[in-house]
């Protein structure tokens, strides 16, 4: 359960996340809602030491992953030693505190 809804164009099959009102490729307007599925491959990442106001931490790893079914998404990578191309498992978890409440998002942990 990743908590993310991605969109697959009914006309040309392009997979998009986040949502667009028209397909980025063919301008189609009908989509099938899909969930990211399969392992997530780490396409790129950064280790952030200077975070915005309200996030008091260092070494936060943020990355872009691609799932086996083509969904691409940004998430919080919970790996001490991230590597390009590494396989990650996706979960839906707290990623930030907003107004005292946890905000949820995509968290990614290394696959054993």
């Amino acid at each position: 359960m990743t908590g993310i809804t991605a969109y697959k164009c009914n006309k040309c099959g392009l997979v998009m996340y986040p949502k667009h009102f028209r397909c980025l490729k063919c301008k189609g307007r009908e989509f099938e809602e899909i969930e990211p599925a399969g392992d997530a491959k780490l396409l790129t990442y950064t280790v952030v030491d200077q975070l915005p106001w309200g996030m008091d931490e260092r070494g936060r790893v943020l990355g872009i992953v691609e799932f086996a079914n083509g969904v691409k998404a940004t998430g919080l990578v919970k790996a001490d030693d991230p590597k390009l191309g590494m396989k990650l498992k996706a979960e839906w978890g707290p990623v930030r505190v907003v107004g005292g409440e946890p905000a949820y998002g995509l968290t990614l942990i290394p696959k054993k």
């Binding site: 986040p18 952030v48 975070l51 309200g54 691409k72 998404a73 998430g75 919080l76 995509l106």
Partner: protein, 394 residues
């Protein structure tokens, strides 16, 4: 379309402004451009203000109206143009269109931002609100984080090292020492920021692989240009520096949706359009001001704009091609890295620098016999980009 001349330019030093608010800064830069053009009591038809976030930074809106009032330009038309860190470039484009179309004869374009009114992490957050709210921002994605993710891929793909990034920082900070308007006035060495065992103390990680000296400072600043027709510019006895080409292009909001995340498509397209309109090619450019908010961007933009082949920008940098005195000086002003990056001001400040260069009045950082200049203003993380070709007519 009518030709459009940049008949006046003005700036205030980029720094942490201690006295006066945003409107005073904008008005001072605007007045400098009016005085430089010598318009005196000629009526100004319109004012376009490039500003990204006066509401969030300064708790003030409708700033263009405040600006015309401050400069006694009523009843000139006035509005603020917002396009993130390319707000300045977008304001210039709007001013250009107004004069080129014949709708206006004299237009003042001002760009400015007062970012240091809030603390650093707050400024980082305000700028980060440009990212996609649910797909990026919620995770703590900032502009440096996007640049870090881009840099990792770009460096891996093209064999760019931290040595190359340091060369951008060193060159631009050296150039900044020649520019009295530059925020950062400090010579740095590769030893001090990279090779010394304790360099990490001077140069800590911001968003790995980008470090402090890979990132532009947070600055206050404003810049202005006065745009008019060749006839009026002649009557004002000003050099005929024209906006010969304008290009703009957009790309996906979220970085993850780019088919090839190392491809800055909007940069390529904006530059191509500007060159086509100007009837020029990259080889015709004598001096360029690129949007080096992060060192990696100067290298990547120099390639995407067509000055060097993909993967060859770093070698050109290493060979001194982009130094003042090289074949294609890039960022003689010091760029965003040294001049500073008050977001709404940058696109206008780039054009101001080019006009000084083309007029031959750039002082110690003058590029010899510069006739044609190029600027690139990079909005968001490359999702809304403007490019300009400016030329000194004989």
């Amino acid at each position: 379309m009518r030709p459009v001349v940049i008949a006046g330019v003005g700036m205030i030093p980029f720094e942490r402004t201690e006295e006066g608010g945003l409107v005073e800064m904008l008005a001072t830069a605007g007045l400098n451009a009016l005085v430089d053009a010598g318009v005196d009591d000629r009526p100004v038809d319109a004012v376009y203000l490039g500003n990204m976030a006066s509401g969030l930074f300064n708790h003030q809106e409708a700033v263009a109206s405040a600006l015309v009032d401050s400069l006694a330009l009523m009843p000139a038309a006035a509005e603020r143009v917002e396009n993130g860190p390319a707000s300045g470039g977008s304001a210039i484009k709007n001013g250009f269109l107004a004069v080129a179309s014949g709708f206006s004869d004299i237009v003042l374009v001002v760009g400015g931002e007062k970012m240091r009114e809030v603390i650093g992490p707050k400024a980082t957050d305000i700028v980060a609100t440009m990212t996609h709210p649910m797909a990026e921002y919620v995770y703590g994605v900032t502009l440096p984080a996007q640049a870090g993710m881009f840099a990792r891929l770009y460096m891996t793909k093209y064999g760019i090292t931290r040595h190359h990034l340091a060369q951008v920082a060193i060159k631009n900070q050296n150039n900044g020492l020649l520019n009295p308007y530059a925020h950062i006035q400090m010579k740095i060495t590769e030893e001090g920021i990279l090779t010394h065992p304790q360099a990490h103390i001077n140069n800590p990680v911001v968003a790995d692989p980008l470090y402090l000296y890979d990132c532009c400072p947070v600055s206050d600043g404003a810049a202005a240009v006065l745009l008019t027709t060749p006839e009026i510019a002649k009557a004002l006895k000003k050099p005929q520096v024209i906006i010969a080409g304008v290009g703009q292009a957009t790309d996906t909001h979220a970085l993850q949706e780019r088919e090839d995340p190392t491809d800055l498509k909007a940069v390529t397209l904006a530059a191509k359009k500007a060159f086509e309109m100007a009837g020029a090619q990259p080889k015709d450019i004598d001096v360029a001001e690129l949007h080096d908010a992060f060192t990696i961007l100067e290298i990547a933009e120099s390639e995407h704009a067509g000055f060097f082949k993909k993967g060859e920008g770093a070698q050109a940098l290493d060979a001194g091609v982009t130094q003042i005195g090289g074949k294609l000086p890039i960022n003689p002003s010091g760029g965003l890295k040294a001049r500073g990056h008050p977001v709404g001001a940058t696109g206008v400040a780039q054009i101001v620098e080019l006009v000084w260069q083309l007029r031959g009045t750039a002082g110690k950082r003058q590029v010899k016999e510069a006739q044609t200049g190029f600027s690139l203003n990079f909005g968001g993380f490359g999702n809304n980009v403007l490019a300009f070709v400016v030329r000194r007519e004989a």
